[in-house]
């Protein structure tokens, strides 16, 4: 007994070392598996508050550019509204002439919310973004996040005030996309290297497209509305097994420059999830 005690006292630093490494590994593993571990991320309120305060200070220096960007986006949206209104009017006229009464309303399906970015990382293989809207603002996991330029990512975890976003620049990110003007869809994945590029990994070989074509969201995942821009095709190569094309996509969003984003929730998302979960697994 005495020898065991002596041994433990003599080598106590080994036990401390194993204990600390054990806790660290538990955290690493837990964060990868267990979705509720918001405390040990920067989505917790203390880190969120400190990042929010520094952001408030730094923000002033870029107000001019942000303003320009918002104005540009505004005018784009105005143009679109005018165009769509005239289209609706035309269609309603047509429907009235035919005596149709079927008018589908799309406007209520998606709900938009704005948020500011309080923390952002670019240099890791699994990057995360923290935004200042959480459960109390109606943000939930698996909502889509995009900026005025294009898709940013998907909400991963939420706390009361803050949310953790899984951006395109994360090796776990999978977003269903298609090339504009094409009906084939494919998955966008990041290889962990250059923050300007991501890859469409499983494009069928019969897909026709050219360099510079725009990649947009497909709308199949029910997280994003269809047609939100993602990037443009930069180059093309065959996948390792030669069955598909692998396209390098230059992302529209500059993740280093991001400051405010939109969060989009789909009211039909839960319904679609439940339906899809009933698909029998092989």
């Amino acid at each position: 007994m005495q020898t065991i005690l002596n041994f433990i006292i003599k080598h106590n630093h080994w036990f401390l070392f194993v204990l600390f490494e054990g806790i660290s590994f538990m955290l690493i593993v837990q964060f990868n598996n267990y979705q509720g571990a918001t405390f040990f991320t920067s989505a917790n309120s203390m880190a969120g508050n400190i990042f929010g305060a520094t952001k408030n200070m730094v923000e002033y220096f870029s107000l001019g550019t942000r303003n320009q960007e918002l104005l540009a986006h505004n005018s784009e949206l105005m143009n679109e509204v005018v165009q769509l209104r005239s289209q609706i009017a035309e269609l309603q006229n047509e429907a009235a002439m035919r005596g149709d009464t079927i008018v589908r309303s799309y406007s209520s399906q998606f709900k938009f919310n704005t948020a500011n970015i309080v923390n952002n990382s670019l240099n890791k293989l699994n990057n995360f973004i923290v935004i200042d809207k959480g459960k109390s603002d109606g943000v939930e996991a698996e909502m889509g996040v995009f900026s005025s330029k294009g898709v940013v990512g998907i909400i991963y975890l939420t706390s009361e005030q803050y949310s953790l976003v899984l951006p395109l620049l994360n090796s776990k990110s999978n977003i269903s996309c298609r090339i504009q003007g094409n009906s084939e869809f494919s998955t966008l994945q990041w290889d962990g290297k250059d923050t300007r590029y991501s890859y469409l990994v499983d494009l069928p070989k019969y897909t026709h497209f050219e360099r510079g074509d725009t990649v947009v969201t497909s709308g199949f995942s029910s997280i994003f509305p269809a047609g939100i821009p993602v990037g443009s095709i930069e180059s093309l190569e065959e996948s390792l097994d030669g069955m598909f094309y692998r396209a390098k996509v230059e992302l529209f969003v500059d993740f280093g420059e991001l400051s405010s984003v939109f969060v989009v929730g789909n009211k039909g998302h839960n319904e679609q999830q439940i339906l899809e979960s009933n698909i029998p697994k092989e």
Partner: protein, 166 residues
């Protein structure tokens, strides 16, 4: 005694803030980041026990993780560094050196301190990148990341050493 600990806690808070608010946002060439908060562990005096080193390292690592959304990764790597620091330090100084020697260029000469710091930082970053890449097979990314980040950190250690020696 209490005075030294108060100063240490102040230094830790300062380093953590500087690390998470400034240095974690600097990524040279998309790879290199500098872990300046390790300076605290490197500069603790020679007599510091392994237990104490481990405790400081774990506290700092876990706080940096908390700010950077990387739970456990910095904590694990910093704990490893703290565990191997004393043997590495001993191999670069004489037995006859005073017990309260603070590692630095004045006390260890340029070559001695640089080798000590380089070995420690390389161990830290190797552990960090392996933990971060975990299931992914990119040996080149690992090598470039470890080498460039270690270099950048050493650069900042040199700068702080120059300023503090004056």
């Amino acid at each position: 005694m209490t005075g030294t600990y108060l100063i240490r806690i102040r230094n830790i808070i300062l380093l953590i803030l500087v690390q998470s608010l400034i240095f974690n946002r600097i990524h040279l060439f998309g790879y290199a980041t500098a872990a300046v908060y390790l300076i605290f562990l490197l500069k603790l005096p020679r007599y510091t026990s392994r237990n104490e080193l481990l405790l400081w390292a774990f506290i700092m690592g876990i706080t940096i993780d908390l700010f950077g959304s990387t739970p456990g990764i910095n904590a694990a790597a910093a704990t490893l560094l703290a565990f191997v620091r004393n043997p590495i330090l001993e191999s670069f100084i004489q037995k006859s050196n005073p017990e309260d020697l603070t590692p630095g260029i004045p006390s260890m000469r340029f070559g001695g301190y640089m080798s000590y710091a380089t070995i420690c930082i390389t161990i830290f970053y190797t552990a960090l990148y392996i933990l971060e890449l975990f299931t992914i097979r990119y040996p080149m990314t690992l090598l470039i990341g470890v080498a460039s980040s270690t270099l950048l950190t050493i650069l900042f250690i040199l700068v702080t050493e120059k300023f503090s020696s004056k």
